[in-house]
Symmetry: C2
Subunit: 226 residues, 2 copies
DNA sequence: ACAAAAGTGTTCTTAATACACCCATGT
DNA sequence: ACATGGGTGTATTAAGAACACTTTTGT
């Protein structure tokens, strides 16, 4: 079952991950600096070619580990990006399968270098350089997905302790959505999304009135339209 | 730039299209019957391997034409489906890129046979057989996308004359969403979606009170969340 | 005049927004 | 007692759901 037809030669599948974190009230994305051509010296999302014997998500995870040392990351959804690289003498058909990840940047040690990259850094999403390939476009689309995902999943779990307060949660939403919300309305909205639940505990975070503690639900059911 | 590494051998990219139509109040999907192994004799969505020198969407369109004779079809969005086919002696890494199409089945002549298929038929989506590969799963996901898409695009243009009446439109929505709606509320909802506009004309479709004529807007702007 | 299909408006309920005061803690 | 940050409720507006009568046309 080997592909033995010239029509199908020179095809490549890449797995590319946009890995985000939230730091204070700004959202950051993890980029690596390319060591080799093409786009030598340019920053890029984390990714590379898929191996023959692995599933897409496993490939994405392997690339993330090889290039940044990050082991534990939840990956979500996928997008597809299409690219026909034209050369002098042949074409290279590339399909990039894009993943979205979210980790706690503060508690994650990043390895800076590997055989294909010379650096790895968190960039504020409002201050991203021109990236290799069409990674700027991929980044935009994945960020948009992240903004949708936080409204209907427990993806934000990784950025918070098991139990957290409403103000902690609000600050992360504000960071990702790049907006501020009224405290009362935010609480009402989030509770109506049915993605967190009250633990009936309280803590005083910094010597003021104690806050209630919430946690994400394990199972989150979908909403419907129309 | 040839892929000369064993790790990347035996990879394949397939483009798979779920082509829908609406007939009366039921939604149908176009399936083809496979002539060859694997899954010989099974029904499948329309698709096949991507060539090296074409973009994904072009490949999808070529496959559709080769297998069904359909030339004019708008394709939308994509999904990715991951499959590692295990054999006795090697693995075949397949990635299926899925497209969604919608055409007017009544006015489209379908070619029944080609070198890889022995038949092509419209199936009521409530009555789809076990399909080849994981095409049942792909079909479900693409149908879900179609149901979202009709609420925020002009994708339904192809099923209607340039100018159409509200009851005609409602009947198609009811067919795809598999629900019935109150006439007044449907009208309000659709108009609020900002995807159609009044033409200030009327026709009497079948010798009763004349209906107003509407048409889809050319440009449709996106809504936002939060 | 009547049958068939299309147009229209009001009420009720639910969700979204805007906004101000009280409470618990540490100093 | 006061400063800090967290909790709560109400009034207004906008959107969704439920529902019945009138209009036009052909026979």
């Amino acid at each position: 079952m080997r592909v033995g037809n010239r029509l199908y030669e020179n095809q490549g599948i890449h797995v590319i991950s946009a890995i985000f974190t939230v730091d204070g009230n700004c959202t950051k994305v993890l980029l690596v600096k390319r060591k080799n051509e093409p786009y030598k010296g340019k920053w890029a999302l984390v990714g590379g070619a898929l191996y023959n014997n692995e599933y897409l998500e496993d490939g994405a995870r392997r690339e993330i580990f090889e290039k940044t040392g990050i082991k534990d990351v939840n990956l979500y959804q996928y997008g597809v990006f299409d690219e026909l690289r034209k050369n002098d003498n042949n074409n290279m058909r590339m399909v990039a399968i894009a993943y979205l990840g979210l980790i706690d940047g503060k508690n994650t040690k990043i390895i800076k270098e590997n055989k294909n990259t010379t650096d790895a850094l968190w960039f504020d999403i409002n201050n991203v350089p021109n990236l290799a390939f069409s990674h700027n476009e991929i980044l935009e689309k994945e960020l948009e997905k992240l903004r949708v995902l936080i409204l209907k999943s427990n993806i934000l779990k990784v950025l918070l302790p098991e139990e957290f307060t409403m103000p902690q949660l609000q600050s992360i939403y504000e960071g990702i959505l790049n907006k501020t919300f009224d405290r009362r309305n935010f609480r009402k909205k989030i509770l109506s999304l049915n993605i967190i639940e009250d633990t009936n505990k309280e803590v005083s975070i910094n010597g003021n009135k104690p806050s209630k503690l919430y946690k994400f639900k394990d199972k989150i059911e979908n909403k419907k339209i129309f």
